[in-house]
């Protein structure tokens, strides 16, 4: 069983001795064998053999040098930044009602998680004459979500068809949206169009009229949290028949996404593309612009909103990826907490916060992170890695090898079958239902009965173990004050 399940060939069966042996040097610790072994006979332990202790020259640092000395290449990796940078969500605490303002029990009273994404009008003109209250001025196109959680951009190519189908089906069941990433949209998934955000990225893979028409919204991808400033590279081996058709590129050719969008070198250029897409879809769909969280995100976000973006998506430095140079993933970008706080603040100061919704992404692990992000000013949260974990991912970070033992980040037909979309959809729906329940509990505890009332309410947050500067950037008071 273990021998057959390991795509990295870490288990070997010797038919002469009838014995199974393992090769620790190729084991990635994905736990596939551990999970499926019928006798629970397998344990994966860290090999105790290590280099001589050294606080500077850690085994990780030494091994990377050895690998590069052998290959002369850039070190690749998958998933999000795994270095021990501070996680600011863990330094923020939520408030709860006591005595003076009653808390609400979500099991007894209605609680609203519905979220609308898109540009909001300057003011509402209401018509009181009819039986029902009507809004007179036309509303810009909005996305209606039953939960403030969406599924991040993960392309068909980076993840398997079954994984894409799972995200689409779960989004439909949950009344939310998934994002195609830059890999185009497989023809079989057009039926989930009303729950799909399609991406227009630097490689323009799979972008055509039906692609734009089918989607509920369009996202222009400028950058990605895991690799800000870096393009994408889907190796030719992964460009199998279906992917070549979906991406509209020859089979077996490398799919290279350039680092910049070659037609965008300024906010004015971005405006041209935003309006080209709005024009192409007759102003019926909100246009989102996604950037990686970098040092001057607030100023860039202001420009994006002024360029006409209806939604701005910010991807923090812990955002995942199918493949990225390790040095970029681990060292470029800033935490989403700071980027979000400074962008929300900047847009409010400039009086343009209502012109765009803010979506944040990058390492959201649980419902508390989501609630804290909304209190910091986000309208919604993209989850990627958490969704993959619900589907079976064990975060072994080997997505870039194409040998995902869980059938997620692979195009190998033998491995892909391991992800049954029916099971995975149910698990993903379960996860979001669980988070929704928890979000409602947290809102109820604060005495709030709609997620809208929490948005940007930083008084619901207190910082712990943070410096004055960090508190100032986050715009929250320290715990106890």
């Amino acid at each position: 069983m273990c021998v057959r399940q390991c795509a990295f060939e870490a288990h070997l069966y010797d038919p002469e001795t009838l014995e199974v042996s393992s090769r620790e040097e190729v084991c990635v610790g994905c736990h596939r064998c551990v999970t499926l072994c019928p006798t629970h006979a397998l344990t994966i332990r860290r090999n105790s053999l290590d280099f001589r202790e050294n606080a500077n020259w850690t085994p990780w640092a030494i091994r990377n040098i050895i690998k590069q000395a052998e290959t002369g290449g850039v070190l690749l990796t998958g998933m999000g930044n795994d270095r021990p940078y501070p996680v600011y969500w863990d330094h923020l605490l939520l408030n709860a009602s006591q005595v003076t303002n009653p808390s609400i029990d979500p099991l007894r009273e209605p609680m609203e998680l519905r979220t609308y994404l898109g540009r909001k009008p300057e003011k509402l003109e209401l018509d009181y004459s009819g039986e029902r209250l009507q809004i007179k001025n036309p509303l810009p196109p909005q996305l209606k979500l039953e939960t403030p959680i969406l599924f991040s951009a993960m392309s068909y190519g980076a993840i398997s068809y079954n994984a894409c189908e799972t995200l689409a089906r779960a989004a439909e069941k949950l009344g939310t949206y998934y994002n195609t990433g830059e890999g185009g949209l497989h023809p079989n998934l057009y039926k989930y169009g009303k729950n799909t955000i399609v991406q227009v990225a630097s490689g323009r893979f799979g972008v055509h009229k039906e692609y734009l028409d089918t989607a509920a919204a369009i996202e222009i991808k400028i950058g990605q949290g895991a690799k800000p400033g870096i393009g994408g590279h889907l190796p030719g081996e992964k460009v199998v028949e279906d992917i070549s058709k979906t991406r509209m590129i020859p089979r077996g050719t490398d799919a290279l996404s350039p680092a910049p969008q070659h037609d965008i070198y300024s906010i004015e250029d971005l405006r041209m593309l935003i309006y080209a897409l709005k024009e192409a879809t007759r102003y019926t769909k909100p246009i989102s612009v996604k950037i990686a969280a970098v040092h001057n995100s607030a100023a860039i976000a202001s420009g994006m909103v002024r360029a006409g973006a209806d939604i701005i998506a910010i991807d923090g430095f812990r955002g995942g990826t199918g493949a990225a140079p390790m040095v970029i993933r681990d060292n470029v970008g800033i935490p989403i907490e700071f980027a979000l706080a400074s962008i929300d603040q900047r847009l409010r100061e400039e009086g343009i916060r209502h012109q765009a919704s803010i979506l944040v992404a990058g390492g959201f692990r649980n419902s508390a992170d989501v609630v804290k992000a909304i209190a910091l000013g986000a309208d919604g949260v993209y989850i990627g890695t958490a969704a993959l974990i619900a589907m079976g991912c064990h975060v072994c970070q080997k997505c870039y090898t194409g040998k995902c033992n869980w059938g997620i980040a692979t195009q190998d037909p033998y491995l892909q079958k391991r992800l049954n979309p029916e099971i995975a959809t149910e698990r993903l729906v379960n996860l979001i239902h669980a988070w929704n329940h928890e979000i409602k509990e947290m809102l109820g505890g604060m005495g709030i009965n709609a997620i809208e009332s929490l948005r940007g309410n930083r008084l619901a947050l207190r910082g712990i173990g943070l410096t004055d500067t960090e508190l100032e950037i986050l715009g929250v008071l320290p715990a106890g004050r």
Partner: protein, 147 residues
């Protein structure tokens, strides 16, 4: 009446169905004992057929008009009138293997040990669902009501 159906698009060829089928038909019904101590070890009545990336778990289809039953000269193969399941009596079987020859699915295997008899799926003697369906980690085997 329920029957096992195969979803080959999600069968990953892990062969856990074979393993649990052996355990279910062992004396001890315990995995390690069945494999290490029991001799002869029962044969799996479910077989993974595999070619390239395609695989599926094959077991007796319990046909309405079973060729194996017609071909069985000793009367070892019989139909349970209540459930419609085709069963096999090891004691009565003479090991002529005509059933193996005529089965259009290749779902009956030869047991070369002991008394040379045939070995086939008995739907776990009424277990609901059968062990292979219950233990399939990817729901590639489903237990569905048929008309």
């Amino acid at each position: 009446m329920k029957r096992i159906f195969i979803k080959e698009e999600v069968c990953m060829g892990c062969r856990l169905c074979e393993i649990y089928c052996i355990v279910q038909h062992s004396r001890s019904k315990e995995l390690l004992k069945a494999f290490k101590k029991e001799n002869p070890r029962p044969l799996p009545r479910i077989m993974i057929e595999e070619k390239g990336s395609t695989s599926f778990a094959l077991q007796c289809r319990h046909c309405e008009e079973p060729y194996c039953w017609e071909a069985c000269m000793s009367g070892a193969l019989y139909r349970d009138e209540q459930t419609g399941v085709i069963l096999h009596n090891r004691e009565q079987c003479v090991g002529c293997w005509m059933c193996v020859m005529v089965c259009p699915y290749g779902a009956i295997s030869r047991d070369l040990r002991e008394k040379k008899v045939a070995s086939k799926c008995d739907l776990c003697g009424g277990k609901d669902p059968p062990i292979c369906v219950a233990k399939c980690p990817n729901e590639a085997l489903v237990w569905v009501e048929i008309k």
